[in-house]
């Protein structure tokens, strides 16, 4: 596994993969939007407003997936000192925070016409808001601690402890009485929607996933370049001093 974590090898491999992931992202978004806005039928109760779900659900899914990815990468970095794991976790955090904010915003825009309010201190909504704060805290650790090795250690601990909140988000609709509807896709008895609605939702989730992978590869490349820049600056500084 360490073989694939070599930064030079990662740069080479990611440069090969990137054009493909970018192209697949564009195709999936095209198809996803066509299904979401055109092919998926109007809901008999919610009318067209339910189409907010095609942005809200993938954003909420990516917010949680992103955090789980950070926690796993952080654990790998913390335990095995994997050279790229901490960088991957660090690169994921701003994207996760952006998707969490998008999920909260679209959730509010769903709440107003459906529940009559933009916000309620409901278990699912509150735990998602806490997730946003954890993301911001994680980013702040990297920004404020200058010693990168120490920052990685503290950020990893924050990430692993914060994973508890992702579990709370997942089961909040089962453990407490909430306004938020129960899981639609990931259920033991299968999804509660079907046909073109399900196809639209799956296509949008796939599009968000591919987008996430594409941007993540760029961001990890950037962090690797910055490490090289820091080391060159030290060499130049040392040479001149």
């Amino acid at each position: 596994m360490h073989k694939f974590a070599n930064p030079a090898r990662f740069m080479r491999l990611s440069n090969i993969i990137l054009p493909w992931t970018a192209a697949i992202t564009v195709v999936l978004f095209g198809l996803g939007l066509y299904y979401s806005l055109v092919l998926a039928p109007e809901d008999y109760q919610m009318g067209n407003t339910y189409r907010i779900m095609f942005i809200h659900v993938p954003a909420a899914y990516m917010a949680q997936f992103g955090y789980a990815a950070i926690a796993v990468s952080s654990a790998v970095g913390f335990i095995w000192k994997h050279p790229l794991a901490d960088q991957a976790a660090r690169a994921t955090a701003p994207m996760g925070a952006a998707f969490t904010a998008l999920a909260l915003l679209t959730g509010s825009l769903w709440g107003k016409p459906m529940w009559g309010t933009y916000w309620i201190w409901d278990a699912r909504l509150t735990s998602m808001l806490i997730l946003l704060f954890i993301y911001l805290g994680y980013i702040a650790v990297w920004q404020t601690i200058e010693d990168q090795a120490r920052a990685a250690k503290i950020a990893a601990i924050v990430a692993m402890v914060g994973l508890i909140n992702v579990i709370i988000i997942k089961f909040s609709v089962d453990w407490w009485n909430t306004l938020h509807q129960p899981a639609t896709l990931m259920r033991m008895d299968g999804p509660t929607i079907g046909g073109d609605m399900l196809a639209a939702l799956l296509l949008m989730i796939a599009a968000f996933n591919m987008f996430f992978i594409t941007i993540l590869l760029w961001r990890i490349q950037s962090l690797i370049l910055r490490r090289r820049i820091r080391s060159l600056r030290m060499q130049i500084g040392g040479g001149q001093g």
């Binding site: 907010i52 769903w110 961001r219 950037s222």
Partner: protein, 64 residues
């Protein structure tokens, strides 16, 4: 194509249009924002690295 235009127009003709439109608008802003910031950061890092590598080469040449 006219069918697409009709269906699209029908979606945004009732009182809740603003919520649908705002959600898709927010989605576009977040996705484009992430794309542009990540792309620009990477391009800047590549350019900084090239500049530093050139400076290092120049310094080595001077020392030789």
């Amino acid at each position: 194509m006219p069918e697409f235009a009709n269906v699209f127009a029908n979606i945004f003709e009732n009182a809740n249009d603003i919520y649908i439109l705002s959600s898709y608008g927010a989605g576009v802003v977040v996705l484009i924002g992430l794309f542009v910031t990540s792309w620009r950061t990477k391009k800047k890092d590549e350019s900084d690295l090239r500049t530093l590598e050139k400076r290092l080469r120049d310094l080595s040449d001077k020392q030789v």
